[in-house]
């Protein structure tokens, strides 16, 4: 069963498009093996889909499931940002804020 529904919008077979496809596939295989569904949409062929989804920049990944919907723009070369966008790095930032809060309390 796939819990992740990812749509990747690209324009044509440019090096940047290919990079984005490869990067997304690699990250998903590493982190979400068997739990994801990934669609690649070429907006040159399906411009109406880009219009419906209000795509501004390409490549863009739209994470439709699970909620909340989130967009990641770019060739996805910054893996950490991609994980952040896919909610796969949930603990770290929360820990950061929590510890900062504690420090704040100590100071008071």
């Amino acid at each position: 069963m796939s819990t992740y529904l990812l749509k990747l919008y690209v324009t044509g077979q440019t090096p940047r498009s290919r990079r984005a496809i490869e990067n997304l596939r690699r990250i998903c295989e590493e982190e979400l093996r068997g739990q994801y569904e990934m669609h690649v949409i070429d907006v040159l062929e399906r411009p109406q889909l880009a219009e419906d989804e209000k795509i501004l920049a390409t490549p863009t990944v739209v994470k439709e499931l699970p909620m909340p919907i989130r967009r990641i723009i770019g060739d996805l070369s910054d893996a950490e940002k991609v994980l952040l966008g896919l909610d796969l790095l949930p603990c770290q930032p929360r820990n950061d804020t929590a510890s900062r809060k504690e420090e704040g309390v100590d100071l008071v």
Binding site: Y9, T11, G12, R16, R19, A20, N23, V43, L44, P47, Q48, A50, E51, K54, I55, L56, A57, T58, P59, T60, P68, I69, R70, R71, I72, I73, G74, D75, L76, S77, D78, A79, K81, V82, L84, G85
Partner: protein
């Protein structure tokens, strides 16, 4: 077309925005992009929508690329201008490309990207409707959505270049932070360089004043400087093209009656049919009376008359007229008269001008009276007022009708009014009404100061007002300094002596007056 209307080698696309095509010498450069820059609230979006709306009306479909407001908001906001965008969308004459930010959706940037997605959508929409026109509103919105200014700038430059290949004439709006200063935020003007139009919404003496300026049209000519405009509920942006108004009015020798026979004689036989007459006087000297007589005279001659009243209510006006033996009610029901009463404060002068033009177009009068023009001074700056007066007079002259404007002078005795100072040169005739203090009594005097193209009487005559209107009597022979307000009574012997000195100027009949003599010299002469 006159010699200066030559529009240059670049063909123009008629925008259909009232007044704009005049100052743009035919419209926007065809097939090119024009940057429309303005501060927040300067009517950029209205202008951008109107450009497309007028296109649809001319059978030229358009694409609206919105970066800030959602299409729903634009559809709703433009309903007020009677632009039925949903119907146009259904008919395939209007398409939105929605690039407005999606609320609640976080965007994360990872690695390099381009704006090809947007470009594809724009091209798709343009192809779908067969676009001839396009508006992008407002380009700065992309910078707010995506962080990388350098990248976005390069990408937008590429998109703007691509618009040329789509063969559309486009308007690209951009926000600026000051009325005078940098053309736009993010330096958008650096890549939309061909044509720049600036909208301003400045605050001057606590009054907002909208102006439009064409900064440049590469390879094409246009009027220079700022022109006032207004956003009217029915028409949208309406530009008032002041200096683009040509002095092409025809001239006529046909005289019309003023409604007061003695005044006609003083004017050398009546007003000219296509002239603008300025009637100036202190409060209570009889300006409304002369206006009423002017209208009564017009109706009597079978003409249609239009009265704009900015000082008195309808009831007051009708009652006053009845007091002078004139029945406005009967004239109005016969369709010979239309009275429009309005408080000057109800709108800006630009709004008033447009409303007045609309009434003139609809009623098609042969006489127009404005009582009083100076009441409008208080809602505007001097500059706006002058522009309004020029706009109105040139419009009336263009229609070949007679116009009577009244102006209130600030002091009871002597003096001139601000209105007079600003518009006296564009009027054809000036009539002064003045109080004259004589033996402990206030009397009234009338004189014709200027009568373009005709001889006229130079003396100051006394007049009285009674139940049948205005009666002009004899000239004030034994008093001087009436116009300045510093009266000097002359003993009878002195009057005789003066009469001997200026024999041919004695009892003035119009024919005896040399036409070259300026009227304003009269008071000096009688001294």
């Amino acid at each position: 077309m006159t010699w200066y209307n030559y529009s240059g080698p670049v063909p123009k696309l008629v925008t259909g925005i009232p007044g704009f095509d005049l100052i743009a010498y035919g419209g926007l450069p065809e097939g090119r992009s024009t940057l429309l820059s303005g501060t927040s609230g300067s009517a950029k979006t209205v202008f951008a929508c109107q450009f497309l709306a007028e296109g649809v009306r001319r059978g030229e479909p358009g694409v609206f690329v919105t970066f800030e407001e959602s299409p729903e908001a634009i559809r709703k906001n433009m309903e007020g201008f009677n632009w039925d965008i949903p119907a146009w969308e259904k008919a395939g004459q209007w398409a939105f490309v929605d690039v407005s930010p999606h609320p609640g959706q976080e965007t994360i940037i990872s690695g390099s990207y381009d704006l090809n997605g947007l470009l594809v959508r724009i091209e798709n929409a343009a192809r779908k409707v067969g676009a001839k026109r396009m508006s992008l509103d407002s380009l700065g919105g992309v910078f707010a959505q995506l962080g990388d200014t350098t990248l976005v700038r390069n990408e937008l430059f590429r998109i703007v270049s691509a618009l040329k290949e789509l063969k559309v004439t486009s308007i690209i709006t951009a926000e600026r932070t000051e009325e005078y200063g940098q053309i736009s935020r993010y330096g958008i003007e650096e890549f939309v360089t061909d044509n720049v139009v600036i909208l301003r919404n400045g605050l001057e003496q606590e009054k907002r004043r909208r102006t439009i300026e064409i900064l440049k049209f590469r390879g094409a000519t246009h009027q220079k400087g700022e022109y006032p405009f207004t956003v009217s509920p029915n028409q949208g942006v309406v530009v008032i093209p002041l200096s683009a108004i040509e002095l092409k009015q025809k001239s006529t020798d046909v005289r019309i009656r003023s409604g007061v026979p003695e005044l006609d004689r003083m004017c050398g036989g009546g007003f000219f049919r296509d002239s603008i007459i300025l009637l100036s006087g202190a409060t209570g000297t009889g300006k409304t009376l002369v206006t009423t007589m002017f209208i009564a005279g017009g109706v009597e001659a079978g003409e249609r008359c239009l009265l704009f009243a900015f000082e008195e209510s309808r009831d007051q006006l009708f009652r006053n007229a009845t007091g002078w033996g004139v029945d406005f009610e009967k004239m109005e029901s016969a369709g010979k008269l239309k009275v429009v009463c309005e408080y000057p404060e109800t709108g800006s002068l630009e709004d008033h001008l447009i409303a007045m033009k609309a009434v003139v177009d609809e009623f098609r009068p042969q006489r127009i009276a404005v009582d009083s023009l100076s009441a409008l001074e208080r809602v505007a700056t001097i500059k706006s007022f002058r522009e309004f007066a020029i706009g109105l007079t040139s419009y009336i002259k263009d229609k070949n009708v007679a116009g009577l404007f009244t102006a209130t002078s600030s002091s009871l005795l002597g003096g001139t009014s601000v209105t007079e100072t600003h518009i006296s040169t564009i009027t054809d005739s000036i009539i002064l009404l003045r109080y004259v203090e004589m033996h402990g009594e206030m009397r009234r005097g009338v004189t014709v100061l200027k009568m373009r193209g005709s001889t006229h009487e130079k003396s100051i005559r006394e007049f009285t007002i009674d139940g049948t209107g205005m009666h002009i009597g004899k000239p004030f022979r034994n008093i001087s300094g009436i116009l300045s307000g510093h009266f000097m009574h002359l003993p009878p012997g002195e009057i005789e002596r003066l009469r001997e000195m200026f024999k041919d100027d004695g009892d003035v009949t119009p024919a005896a007056v040399p036409p070259a003599v300026g009227g304003s010299e009269t008071p000096d002469r009688s001294r």
